[in-house]
Symmetry: C2
């Protein structure tokens, strides 16, 4: 499993519309081959900056399958109008992981 | 729950030592008040760049309790020598979340 990390700056004032569009776009990701999870986060320090994390089985599922799919066009159609700049995209692998066993989450 | 996101650039060539130190430092985080999870990721595109995600119950658990604790000093003692620049730290809240129900993860 790999994680896509997209840093997305939104035109200030469009945050609410962008979040509604991202909620609508979520199932375009989750219905795509190899997509395991979708999480959109908002920065507390820079409220027009979002971080999208998408878990994919392989990097090809993201860069070949998804990027050439109707689902990708749908995502960009829904959310693209709110982008201030093109998203900055990287891929991450997990190196060290741990969870607090006492926590209920 | 909030997530700390730290972007950490490591001195090139020190990646293996840094990863071993981070594995050792993990329990310093997980033993701290309000720490729910610890995940260190490495960028596939920029292999000396890491992203540390730490889940905290509240931002105060990170910025007041942890930052003023012996555990923080231990983390910096273990991993600080490998930092190329000071980590860039932000805090994130989750806006939209979804998981593929068909996946086994």
């Amino acid at each position: 499993m790999i994680k896509e990390l997209a840093e997305i700056d939104i035109r200030p004032g469009c945050e609410e519309d962008f979040e509604a569009a991202a909620l609508e776009a979520r199932d375009l990701f989750l219905g795509s081959k190899g997509c395991l999870a979708f999480r959109l986060h908002r920065s507390m320090e820079q409220p027009s900056r979002y971080r999208l994390f998408v878990e994919w089985e392989t990097i090809e599922d993201h860069m070949l399958e998804f990027r050439n799919s109707e689902a990708f066009l749908g995502w960009r159609r829904l959310c693209g109008p709110y982008f201030l700049t093109p998203p900055r995209v990287e891929h991450l692998t997990i190196i060290v992981e741990g969870r607090n066993e006492k926590s209920e989450r």
